[in-house]
Point group: C2
Chain length 227, copies 2
DNA sequence: ACAAAAGTGTTTCGGCTACACCCATGC
DNA sequence: GCATGGGTGTAGCCGAAACACTTTTGT
């Protein structure tokens, strides 16, 4: 390795991924038993080293693919953690991402192979080092995102009812939302499309399924209105 | 240097600081002529290497002290920039911060010594590498902050008029605010204290000076109301 | 019949916006 | 007197919140 221009100390650079999922009315966190020292066999976030020829986002995508078998995962930078002593194994600067994955689509055998487990977020065990704080920060950032745009496209199945969407929001914010108001609010955003298909499992009356419309579809609809 | 636990490639890790100031109704950006190759003598953000024994925040604080002579500067992480080819001198991952400094208090001789210049943000020159994008991201983040809490404590002098505060907001958002509504809004936040002192330079009638009350003072006031 | 969710309608309240309007004073 | 910013008041609009009410259907 040669960097003719720069002479300075090098650093270990890692990414850690806070992986959120959703199932049965619960916001979930994917956590794995660490397979190497230090802190082997303790619960931790999924992480990996950043290679010289990739961005930190690409490193996170690699890590996510390794454990879920999924590509095209929603990713967002959270924070850099860089306390010199944060990792007893040496100086490691970690860039934290959070991800949202559709729990029903991921590869469960890969998760099992990594000795990883989906925890309900409130019931997660203590994680190593500063990983608990990473989860806190990521959860904050997720709430912030969810408060100014509709999340769920990456966490819910392709089609879902307004009830399921509301339960997701209640899980994310750990509070209840008025069913009527929540419904009116999300439908006013014009990002959901009602399907000619009803869910009759969760209610007697049956509730229409909805799906997220893509951004281009939404744009087209907007244009038609505006002409 | 020894890291017995980890065997992996190392990275160059840097911080770059988007330094905002404010003067004469203009949001300012501090930019310096780069003193080393590559891209010597071109405009760039102030940056520095992250040392092994410090956090990235501490590295940013060092950089800020070097150029302003100030400590206790408001700092916020913006984004990590990590395109492998972003810096022609080699693989450098950069963590971007933005800072707000009181333009009237900083050490102008240090700025001069670094061949740095305060530009009005809209008139800034093209910066090296991806630094223009860093400034954009930082400005976005600043706007976001300013939209959910009152900024100015770090940019304005100790005492200031509502007009001056409004002009700061107009500079940050590049739009006008209704004077009456702006006044009522900021005063309703209960974070400003009116002084028995008027500014008679900027208006015939004279306008009261205000100052930010500290967080603890604000807390106490809240408590008194709530009892 | 009743419970339980679906879906709609209504009322109230608070905050934001767009103003109008008086005040003080330097020119 | 008039222009300029300081400062206050008010009417209208809109969205959020609270909640009533009707619909549908499995049990």
């Amino acid at each position: 390795m040669s960097h003719p221009q720069y002479k300075h100390q090098h650093q270990y650079l890692a990414v850690d991924c806070v992986i959120f999922g959703y199932e049965n009315g619960q916001l979930k966190l994917l956590s794995a038993k660490r397979k190497f020292e230090p802190a082997m066999d303790q619960w931790s976030l999924m992480g990996g080293w950043v290679r010289m020829d990739e961005t930190v986002e690409q490193a996170a995508i690699r890590v996510l693919f390794q454990i879920t078998g999924l590509r095209d995962i929603y990713l967002e930078q959270v924070q850099v953690f860089s306390q010199p002593q944060r990792d007893p194994g040496g100086r490691v600067v970690s860039i934290v991402f959070y991800a949202m994955i559709p729990t029903d689509q991921h590869d469960k055998s890969l998760v099992h192979e990594h000795e990883a487990v989906w925890f309900n977020l409130p019931d997660k065990p203590k994680l190593i080092f500063d990983h608990d704080q990473m989860v806190e920060f990521a959860h904050e950032k997720l709430k912030q995102k969810a408060s100014y745009e509709l999340i769920g496209a990456d966490l819910l199945p392709e089609k879902f009812t307004i009830l399921q969407l509301r339960l997701l929001y209640e899980a994310v914010f750990q509070r209840e939302f008025d069913p009527g108001n929540f419904r009116k609010k999300v439908l006013s955003l014009k990002v959901l499309e009602r399907l000619n298909d009803k869910n009759t499992n969760e209610s007697k009356k049956g509730a229409y399924y909805f799906r997220f419309i893509t951004k281009t579809e939404a744009l087209i609809k907007e244009r038609i209105v505006k002409i």
